[in-house]
Amino acid sequence: MERTVGGAMITSRPHSRLIGHFLLVLGLIVVVFPIYYVFVASTHSLETILKPPLPLLPGGDFIANYREAFYGGIGRIGGVGVGTLLLNTTIMALGIALGKIVISIMSAYAIVFFRFPLRLVFFWIIFITLMLPIEVRILPTYKVMVDLNLIDTYAGLIVPLIASATATLLFRQFFMTVPNELIEAARIDGAGPWRFFKDILLPLSRTNIAALFVILFIYGWTQYLWPLLVTNSNSMNTIVIALRKMISFADADTQWHLVMVTCVLAILPPVLVVVLMQRWFVRGLVESEK
């Protein structure tokens, strides 16, 4: 990623680098400020929030607000605590991420390392799903969910979203870079398809899996339309949907301080995942789309 210092010297002079830092800091303010500001709001009382302008620094109600969000029960959305919402969202995000990884690594393995009739047909069946995002088939998909009794279930939140052409294509692309000799050496060393997969392919795919995990976890965590459709009961809501239900903009009764706490809690886990796994995430993102 990093260029050599010498290389950069040729194209940029100190004053132009100073302008660079200035613009980047400006960009950072635009990008980070909304998130920082929500955190600030989550540490102030409802009265302070409703009296603009809100201070730029955190206030003294951090503990009170967060305690209320976790243990006070958020009466307005049917008594479901923020803990349950976080649990639901975590289950959904993990389920989608792991489910997608498992089924796409399996199908990519079949498509790359085996020759069998209809192989290309299957490849295209999977590939074409790139063109069928959930948004273009909302109603009929919803009907399928009703028919299969999947409304208000974790399976309903997860399973329809785990078929992913993108993940399959990413694994396929990576698998195709594995040298032939490696497979042949493994075959001569007595490894069958399962051993080769477990002992060689899986360890070699570690970084790809990590990258994909981050991308898919974020994907699962930030889902909106799907959980909106397949959950009726408040206790099955994800945190994003619950947030939407907590806010009513025309209504002055909105518990803004609790909304802000919930917002922070909804943002924090995925941001942590992205930042902590940055190295894999960045590479995986750029590679998976190319």
């Binding site: 040298p179 000799e181 042949e184 050496a185 001569i188 060393d189 490894a191 002992d199 060689i200």
Partner: protein
């Protein structure tokens, strides 16, 4: 330890015929080198023995057992690949142990065998390293070690030295030879490098376009090449081959009008028959005008140090060159020089114009 026998082995990819029926008997402990230009089918043949390519027809036997339908692991062979094919995420030890683990050998046996192989290949201090932390020569050794620990019926080598630099190649060549002598495992070795082929082989298989043109000891292949192809492929620079015909009284040959070579002691066939005349650069020597078979004109000179290659023409106004001569390095040769030469009568070759096979 085992014999290997190929019986009329053929390979087609759809309608495309790649191997046109190769038969070969390899004795126990023998080191066979399969050599040929790229695309001649030598690697395919080796991979058929390994079980990595299906055999279209014919049989492959290892240790007297037909293995056509067996998986590679059931054939009791080990293979060394051109790019080594080391498992990048495993240590040197694990790379060597992997096959034994798959065969469910005991921990102590694996440890012992890897230790022995590591000692033989001087890999002892590298066992914990990952392949990426090794030099090219070390990776090559690990690849050999992986084959060695298995103690298989046969070693299969697929151009194992072609990714190494010239100096290492010579060193590893010697090591492979010594190792094979030492353990005595029957070996099949594929290469496109004729020096490697000549130096390593007990017997050579020279392949061209899916056929084995000649199977014999290196010296026989050199001194009695079975075809124009073999004559041109083995030996560097390549043998000089010229169109000629048998002279009027069958006591010599005529290369072109006025240029004849007397060969009274050879039993030449009927006069006037066209043929291909071959002689290696090292079998033409410079002599005095009166003893010369022919006077050549030097067209170009390549100085190699020990030797000098002189590219010569039969007539000064010819284009290109007709003969290449290898003369001692200290002898002064220059372009335009007239060179009286003599052919070594014991080292001339004749090939059929049509079949391009050796005549006698």
């Amino acid at each position: 330890m085992a014999t290997i026998a190929l019986k009329d082995v053929r390979k087609n990819y759809g309608r495309n015929k790649v191997i046109h029926g190769v038969s070969l008997d390899v004795a126990d402990h023998e080191f066979i080198v399969i050599v040929g230009p790229s695309g001649c089918g030598k690697s395919t043949l080796l991979r058929m023995v390994a079980g990595l390519e299906e055999i279209t027809s014919g049989t492959v036997e290892i240790g007297g057992r037909v293995v056509n339908k067996l998986e590679p692991r059931e054939r009791d062979i080990a293979m060394v690949f051109q790019n080594y094919a080391l498992y990048p995420h495993m240590s040197v030890f694990d790379n060597m142990a992997y096959g034994l683990r798959n065969a469910r050998r005991s921990k102590s046996e694996i440890a012992l065998r890897v230790a022995n192989a590591a000692k033989m290949l001087e890999l002892g201090s590298l066992l914990d390293r990952k392949p990426r932390a090794l030099s090219g020569g070390q990776r090559q050794r690990v690849a050999m070690g992986r084959a060695l620990v298995r103690d298989p019926a046969a070693f299969l080598f697929d151009e194992p030295l072609s990714n190494l630099d010239a100096k290492l190649r010579v060193q590893m060549r010697l090591e492979i030879k010594a190792l094979q002598r030492n353990v005595g495992t029957t070996s099949l070795y594929v290469t496109h490098d004729q020096v490697e082929a000549m130096t390593l082989a007990d017997r050579l298989v020279v392949m061209n376009e899916g056929k084995a043109e000649q199977i014999d000891t290196p010296m026989k292949v050199y001194s009695k090449p079975a075809s124009v192809f073999v004559a041109g492929f083995i030996g560097s620079p390549a043998m000089n081959i010229l169109e000629a015909h048998v002279g009027v009284d069958a006591r010599g040959i005529a290369i072109r009008s006025g240029v004849t070579i007397d060969l009274p002691e050879m039993n030449l066939p009927n006069a006037g028959m066209p043929l291909l005349f071959g002689i290696r650069p090292e079998h033409i020597s410079v002599t005095s005008e009166e003893r010369a078979d022919m006077i050549l004109t030097v067209a170009a000179v390549e100085t190699l140090g020990a030797d000098t290659l002189a590219h010569c023409r039969m007539a000064a106004n010819d284009k290109g060159s007709d003969f290449v001569l290898r003369v001692p390095g200290m002898m002064p040769v220059y372009a335009g020089q007239r060179l009286p030469v003599m052919f070594d009568r014991k080292a001339v070759h004749f090939f059929d114009v049509k079949t391009r096979n050796r005549l006698f």
